[in-house]
């Protein structure tokens, strides 16, 4: 049976706990000045969406969830469900809001996502690490400002809000790291 050491824990890793699949949403390392270290995680039950906290002795192993991650193309949202397609077989599946979670902020039609299937149902969706999205709202740009300091909030076409440099304007395409929700750069055309 596959398992992960707590040293391999990172956001998005899938664990099997008490018969349910979970995904790590937050992971921290707690250690006294001397002595045993612990890994404290917040994990989301992929069936119910509920988030719980667990603590492990650092270095221990935890059973991996027997789920299948597949690369699928995001097609569209019908108001209730998000539809994806397996690019080789053209097979389509629909994910509900529990499975999508915050990923909806980064979904752009045609992009390839990692869809996690458990018993053939989608239970989680991870967007690409980097997405290019259009800025739909932000304060007017400041000409000549090219420094890294400062910044301002910008709303993107998906509804996500990220901090961007002052020189970014409405209508521009920006590249965002979906893991941190941080602006990476201006997208080149």
């Amino acid at each position: 049976m596959a398992s992960y050491s707590t040293n391999e824990f990172k956001n998005g890793l899938k664990l099997m706990i008490d018969g349910d699949p979970y995904s790590i949403v937050e992971c921290d390392f707690v250690k006294p000045g001397k002595g045993q270290a612990f890994t404290r995680v917040k994990i989301r039950n992929l069936k119910t969406g509920r988030v719980v906290e667990r603590t492990y002795k650092s270095g221990e192993s935890v059973e991996a969830a027997d789920v299948m991650d597949t690369e699928m193309q995001y097609l569209y949202n019908d108001g209730e469900m998000w539809h994806f397609m397996e690019p080789k077989t053209y097979e389509q599946i629909a994910a509900d809001v529990t499975a999508i979670g915050d990923t909806k902020l980064w979904l752009k039609e045609q992009d390839m996502c990692e869809v996690t299937l458990w018993n053939d149902s989608p239970i989680a969706v991870v967007p690409p690490n980097f997405v290019v999205l259009e800025v739909t709202d932000t304060d007017p740009g400041v000409r000549g400002d090219t420094s890294g300091g400062g910044g301002k909030p910008a709303t993107l076409e998906t509804g996500a809000v990220v901090r961007v440099p002052l020189f970014i304007n409405i209508g521009e395409q920006v590249k965002v790291d979906t893991r941190s929700g941080e602006y990476v750069g201006r997208a080149k055309d």
């Binding site: 707590t6 040293n7 706990i17 992971c27 921290d28 390392f29 707690v30 250690k31 006294p32 000045g33 001397k34 002595g35 045993q36 270290a37 612990f38 890994t39 404290r40 719980v52 906290e53 667990r54 603590t55 492990y56 002795k57 650092s58 221990e60 935890v62 690490n129 980097f130 890294g148 300091g149 790291d177 990476v184």
Partner: protein
């Protein structure tokens, strides 16, 4: 013959080249490091810079060293990156250095988090003729100077446990500790917890977050089982303590200090005890440092020593919410 490069070269890494800290923070950090050096300069404490590589790593069963190979001419060996300059500095003390400090990088093969990085800046200093109380006083002066804090409080390990958990750590049973964790909804999954592991769990989860919210606080006189490299003293009929202290501010552990053990035979026993614990828990073992034992035999002056996490101090000074925001770059693994 042509070689297909793609089979030889790993996939390139996402090129996020910008520093993690702003220019303003980097300038403040430079000033902060200079202020620390000034603090020791006016006290006549000499700066030293000992090697980062060693043949004999720390034996502490809860600290893992990063390992590397050296391949010189007729000279190949396994070396380790130091997790603290302690052994080298004790050799300097035994050779007659007097008061010394060192500020530099140390390395740990450990988890990463808001307060942890595998590579970090440590400030370590030693004061001949100081005991742990005298050194706590000096640590407090440094903290007041760097963080503009009030005079620190002091509490024994026993009192801290009694105050926050109602348990006496010196005669509590593992079952009582386990029940306390459960009653405070700590969802521990792990088995095979020794008493000191339970104490560490309660300390990190229940006590630490409440320590030093207004002013810094020292915890001192730890259980002898957690002595590490500190002297041990019989305090009471039911209480054998290690002359060790830690400083907490805003729930964060900042320094760890000892009235230093100078008995080489006792030190050898502790090395061997550590190695046995490593074998029992399936951790790597290696030869321990005979050079530091020889230095203790030659005569380590009666002294106290302390190590402080500079990145955490700077984080608190600048009110950052993690150490990485105060570093030029964060070392990320894939």
């Amino acid at each position: 013959m042509s070689v297909n490069l793609s089979t030889l070269i790993p996939e390139s890494i996402e090129a996020d080249w910008m520093p993690s800290a702003s220019q303003e923070i980097l300038e403040k950090r430079a000033y902060f490091l200079r202020a620390i050096r000034e603090f020791f300069h006016v006290r006549n404490v000499m700066e030293v810079d000992t090697p980062n590589l060693t043949l004999a790593p720390v034996t502490d069963p809860h600290i893992e060293s990063l390992q590397t190979e050296i391949n010189g001419a007729g000279n190949s060996d396994t070396l380790y990156l130091t997790t603290s300059p302690e052994f080298y500095m004790k050799r300097l003390l035994a050779a007659g250095s007097g008061s010394i400090y060192q500020m530099g990088k140390v390395f740990r093969n450990d988890g990463q988090g808001k307060l942890h990085s595998p590579e970090f800046t440590m400030l370590e200093w030693y004061r001949p003729d100081f005991d742990h109380h005298a050194l706590m006083h000096e640590v407090d002066e440094l903290i007041q100077y760097l963080l503009k804090t009030e005079k620190a409080d002091r509490i024994t390990y026993r009192d801290a446990f009694e105050q926050y958990t109602g348990l006496n750590p010196f005669n509590v049973t593992t079952v009582q500790l386990q029940n306390c964790a459960k009653a405070n909804s700590i969802n521990l999954i792990s088995q095979n917890m020794e008493k000191d592991d339970w104490l560490a769990l309660l300390l990190t989860h229940l006590i630490e977050p409440q320590l030093g919210n207004i002013k810094p606080i020292f915890i001192y006189d730890f259980p002898a089982s957690q002595a590490a490299l500190a002297r041990v003293r019989i305090k009471d009929s039911d209480e054998v303590v290690a002359e060790r202290f830690e400083l907490y501010y805003r729930g964060i552990e900042l320094v760890n200090g000892y009235h230093e053990l100078s008995d080489s035979q006792e030190q050898r026993k502790r090395f061997e005890h550590d190695l046995q614990a490593r074998i029992n828990t399936g951790k790597p073992v290696f030869a321990y440092d005979e050079a530091v034992l020889n230095a203790l035999s030659a005569g380590l002056p009666d002294c106290a020593g302390v190590a402080a996490g500079v990145d955490r101090l700077f984080m608190l000074a600048e009110k950052l919410d993690n150490i990485h925001s105060g570093l030029s770059f964060t070392v990320k693994s894939r």
